[in-house]
Symmetry: C2
């Protein structure tokens, strides 16, 4: 059995195309540093743990990666470059603004055999696409996929090493729901409010996080706690906010961007 994370990673197989992906991550970080941009690593979606060596069955997590995808959009809006480390079938940034999941239902054939977006979806998609293309053209978003827990950990390590030269220009925003079947770890998707803050504080102590965003499973879309060693701030959406389509991730990212900027100016 592995006793340290180093042993664990040494004994664990590397994911497909690991070297290729690592190189891409390093190049992406270098590019951002040349343009003096802040960079955030956002991890997103649930990890799987295989039950067999020829894997047919595995343990999974209900997360589809909503928090990660939304947070990525808001970080981009605030001028950060984003490495989006995501579960292969997870939700992607901007895609939630696309009204149908089956692309074939969005398209129509014109009289001269062009394939176009159906008129009823065109305005909405035009808007998303403009934002998305700007991001791509400026090379502000790198998507890296994982499936299993060990893929995730290997790639998380690769990203962390790549981000080292960025110093305090880099933020690690770990929103992935890491399956806790395999490594001893507390499940942070708490259902008991009384335990929430104390568990967040334990996590800060144990994993040396600077900030934990804590939430209850059932209210995760409208109330979160920004927990540090010294402070615990509740951030929540009002009913009016929710009605107006405001998203809690916007408030989370606002709060983190402010703290990051304070941290860098110290």
């Amino acid at each position: 059995m592995a006793t340290t994370w180093k042993d664990f990673l040494d004994q664990t197989e590397k994911p497909d195309k690991f070297d290729e992906k690592s190189k891409e991550i390093i190049e992406f970080v270098k590019f951002q540093l040349r343009s003096k941009r802040n960079i955030v690593l956002v991890t997103s979606g649930g990890t799987t743990v295989p039950l067999e060596s020829k894997t047919v069955r595995f343990l999974d997590n209900f997360s589809v990666g909503t928090r990660g995808a939304l947070s990525t959009e808001y970080f981009l809006k605030r001028g950060y470059a984003v490495i989006f480390l995501t579960r292969n079938r997870g939700l992607r940034p901007f895609l939630r603004h696309v009204p149908k999941t089956n692309i074939l239902d969005l398209l129509t054939i014109t009289d001269n055999k062009d394939v176009k977006v159906k008129p009823e979806y065109e305005q909405k998609i035009l808007k998303v696409l403009q934002t998305y293309q700007e991001i791509k053209n400026e090379n502000l978003l790198l998507t890296v996929e994982f499936q299993t827990l060990s893929d995730y950990l290997q790639l998380l390590k690769a990203c962390s090493f790549a981000l080292q030269p960025a110093g305090n220009q880099a933020v690690l925003y770990l929103a992935a729901a890491v399956s806790d079947f395999y490594i001893p770890k507390d499940l942070m998707l708490e259902t008991d409010k009384d335990l929430l803050i104390s568990k967040a504080l334990q996590a800060i102590d144990k994993y040396q996080h600077q900030i934990v965003i804590a939430n209850l499973l059932e209210t995760r879309k409208k109330e979160i706690f920004v927990v540090t060693k010294e402070t615990q701030d509740c951030v929540s959406l009002s009913d009016a906010d929710i009605k107006n389509g405001k998203e809690i991730e916007e408030l989370i990212i606002d709060c983190l961007v402010e703290r990051h900027s304070q941290f860098c100016s110290v």
Copy 2:
């Protein structure tokens, strides 16, 4: 504990929108019977089994539903109407012909702000879209989604009851990978060739299937066995077939359509 499948289903919660979905299925079957079409129920993708009542973690199966999605295309090609009972995030018929998974990467904005498919993808998508739209216009494909094992079983029952009036015009093609953590059931994704046929025969006996399509996990894309009580036929693709992009599902469906037609003419 439930002792019969009836008890089991009575004690299991119905999936979201169950009544709505059941009604849609019944209407779809009626429509096909009026047009004297054969109907096949294709089940596809893996089922999940939740580990908690407020579900965060679950057991899953590696299946993404390739066999089900491909088989659906070939059944449609042979003139069948299809009820496609699929895992919510599973592969959809026709979508595998679409070159990129992120729709935003497929689209471009023209000078007069139309949103079009990029020229390099247009020919390929045009072809798929024509087929897809014909199928939709003629109302030949009904997609019904499940996630958990119990959703699957409830909807399978609903489909089976809806198909009763179709008599021998109906085929049940059960390609879903049903998680066998919960109900006592043999795992049919066999890795040992010697056991394959005997397990298929046991399944025929136990579940009263007329035909079992048996395959080994590792060769499932090029060799299958069509097993009945009396016969065991190997169907396989040659290396040349594989090179030419031929798919084993086409051979499976050809074989089943022929047997279905013989069965109906008896």
